[in-house]
């Protein structure tokens, strides 16, 4: 599109035709306050924070939805604009439960920040404070509508990014609320607990169900043996959650968690590597049965199973495709099952004393650990799940000087990991890790990509596909794959997953293996990650993930020395008897 000339606050600017006033101002470095606007979502134009004055117009313009026109004269902080904005802000604050010290988002709230920036100290519209209206029953995502400003970012997130659409505006006029079918709890509707709504809520109306108190109590109880596992995406999110620029900070994260007083700091990456072995062998087994043995019961494509939001989504929406899902538990649940069996044995502690705490970029993990079948160790496999944000809050409460910590290493037995495990945190990572191992198992050779970087499955495109042709010479027992072309696909964000599964259901695609992550960007964009989130922020986190992969000595899951020890001493073989008991699971149809 050609450029056109506009005037912003008296300065001539050349901007692209078709952009909105807001975009034109942002490009020109002129800040306009917004609330309902979000770069990941469609435009709503309902909050009226971004009003600007356009010369010759009778009314103020909603800058986020108004396109620029040639020679438009825009004023972003005229008396009229400032007055309108302050009024809008005061009205929003008057309808909001302004009990900031009791709010999860105190210090990271867009409404609070705007009130501060606009110096709203007296609010003539303020009436009696609204009481809290907590929804307590939901395992991962909580709501308090007394803090809601009806911007509908959550509604748009749920519908547009996730195709879940369980939250909607309900009622009319001053009775409008963001609610669910028949005003039920989030645990009684097909909510996936992905928490993407939390990441986009400008206030504290949506937040995770916290387990900080329970974790402190476990740490403070001398009888309990607290074992912490940290997911791949946490190490690229924790610095951000503590107010530092996005960076990988694995060593400092380990030091900070140890500083909280836990007994062992271990790595979910260890069980990510284990997932790759088990899932890789499961894929090879399905391929063999389908392609070599003509076994009709071998279902392809196989999809990944590490994302609990995705699992809940498919259980609700595509129950007929559940046989396609890998039977592997997620790395979090594999870790829990091993922590109270294998690790308890190695550490010589009573498994009933072990408290397994996960640090996850995810809110759906809080739901996953509550699934009744997740008790194969004889105990609740995972006791508590904290989000990256909750961990940051504990580090701050403990007064740990994160910036000046020295790097520390994970404890042993379940602390080793590889680059293949780290990239689980980014969309495409599980696929890449699985291919690095599976290719080598069936061919006896490393996968022929420069530096093991399987770039076709990387990136932020919503659905990506790749194919890999096997050589003619295969390892013994895998000759049936000689010359075969393995077709794979990757989707992130449940709307993309939905599109892809529609095509699978219709039989329009002939993939063998599909990776699906519920959240945009994969786990690095998870519902438990630092707020805010934008495409740029997720890109930076992805770069940090791949930098961590490149920096690690071991890049392939099967090269993990502690994984090799685990198989030698405990599991014996992939897909073996103990694996089936501890590491594999089943799914169910949900309404």
């Amino acid at each position: 599109m050609p450029n056109i000339s506009v005037t912003i606050n008296g300065v001539n600017r050349s901007v692209r035709e078709g952009v909105t006033i807001l975009e034109a101002c942002q490009t020109a470095g002129v800040e306009i306050p917004t609330l309902c606007y979000h770069p990941d979502l469609s435009l709503a134009g309902n909050c009226r924070m971004c009003l600007v004055e356009v010369e010759g117009w009778r009314t103020l313009a909603i800058s986020c939805v108004t396109p620029v026109t040639p020679n438009m004269k825009i004023r972003t902080h005229s008396k009229k604009v400032r007055h309108a904005r302050r009024t809008v802000l005061k009205l929003l604050l008057a309808a909001h439960n302004v009990n900031c010290p009791e709010c999860e988002r105190n210090g990271n709230c867009e409404l609070q920040e705007l009130a501060e920036k606009h110096n709203i100290t007296v609010n003539e519209f303020q009436t009696s404070p609204k009481p809290c209206s907590f929804e307590e029953a939901s395992p991962g995502v909580m709501r308090d509508n007394s803090r809601c400003i009806l911007c509908t970012r959550c509604v748009r997130t749920c519908e547009e990014l996730q195709s879940v659409a369980v939250i909607k505006p309900v009622g009319r006029s001053n009775q409008v609320r963001i609610s669910t079918f028949m005003d039920r709890g989030l645990n009684e509707v097909p909510c996936t607990q992905c928490g993407q709504c939390i990441n986009r809520c400008p206030t504290g109306a949506l937040f995770e169900t916290s387990e900080i108190r329970q974790v402190w109590e476990a740490i403070e109880d001398p009888d309990r043996f607290v074992v912490v596992q940290t997911a791949p995406a946490v190490r690229v999110g924790i610095a951000e959650a503590l107010g530092f620029p996005t960076d990988r900070s694995t060593g400092r994260m380990v030091a900070a968690i140890r500083g909280l007083g836990v007994d062992r700091v271990l790595d979910t990456d260890f069980t990510a590597d284990l997932t790759i072995i088990e899932e890789g062998y499961e894929l090879i087994d399905r391929l063999k049965r389908a392609l070599a043995d003509g076994d009709q019961s071998a279902v392809l494509p196989m999809t990944t199973s590490c994302s609990p939001g995705w699992i809940k989504f498919i259980e609700h929406k595509y129950p007929d495709l559940l046989p396609n899902v890998s039977s592997c538990k997620s790395p979090q649940q594999m870790f829990g099952a091993l922590a109270k069996t294998y690790l308890a044995g190695k550490e010589n502690v009573d498994p009933s004393k072990v408290v397994c705490v996960s640090i996850m970029p995810c809110t759906a993990k809080k739901f996953e650990k509550e699934r009744p079948e997740m008790n194969s160790s004889g105990y609740r496999d995972v006791d508590y799940v904290l989000t990256t944000r909750e961990l940051a809050s504990m580090i701050q409460e403990a007064g740990i000087d994160f910036a000046n910590l020295r790097d520390e290493k994970f404890d042993k037995w379940m602390g080793d990991s590889t680059g293949a495990a780290v990239i689980f945190g980014a969309t495409g990572g599980v696929m890449e890790a699985a291919l690095r191992t599976a290719y080598e198992v069936v061919t006896g050779q490393e996968i022929p990509f420069n530096g093991l970087n399987i770039t076709p499955v990387r990136g932020m495109e919503g659905i990506r596909e790749a194919s890999i042709t096997m050589p003619e010479r295969m390892a013994k027992g895998y000759e049936f794959l000689a010359g075969a072309t393995l077709k794979v696909a990757v989707a992130h964000g449940l709307t993309n997953a939905d599109k892809l599964m529609d095509r699978v259901r219709a039989g329009e695609v002939d993939y063998h293996f599909i990776e699906i992550m519920a959240c945009p960007g994969g786990c690095l964009g998870g519902g438990g990650q630092p707020i805010p989130t934008t495409p740029e922020i997720r890109q930076k986190r992805a770069e940090a993930i791949y930098a961590e992969d490149s920096a690690l000595h071991f890049r392939k899951s099967h090269a993990n020395p502690e994984i090799q020890l685990l198989y030698a001493e405990f599991l014996k073989e992939p897909l073996g008897h103990r694996s089936h008991e501890l590491l594999h699971t089943h799914y169910r149809t949900r309404d």
């Binding site: 519908e159 879940v164 659409a165 369980v166 939250i167 909607k168 505006p169 309900v170 009622g171 009319r172 609610s179 669910t180 079918f181 028949m182 509707v189 097909p190």
Partner: protein
Amino acid sequence: MSRNPVDIVTSAMEKYGSGREAIMQMLTDVNRELGYIPEEAIRAIAAAVGVSNAEIYSVLSFYSFFSTEPRGRNIVRLCNTISCRMAGAGDILAAIEDELGIRAGETTPDDRVTLETTSCIGLCDQGPAMLVNDTPHTRLTPDEARRIIAGLQ
């Protein structure tokens, strides 16, 4: 004997199709036939149109003539907007509540009448006004209102 809600939705779909624009007509048919919109009907409409249950609930919750709760055989909607109030709607409400022994928003125990107040029904020049089922009654007096209510079967 009223029809099954799912059957009503099925015949509505035959008449109006299953696009999003058919949602209001499907809801209206169910509401007219049953006097309310049961959960089963919401689920059936959502499935027919291919949207979430929450979406249909969101739509119907906007309209005060739609209800998700069963209501009486007759629905009395007294206008509660400013013109009718100034013309004496308060006295009318008191008279009807007294006549029926229920408050606005309630249904008589024998399911004969549901009493509601409503926003403007466009009869501001003839207030106080009310709708009894689909029939408007205007320039009401308390006695006239009692007489109309008493005549409902």
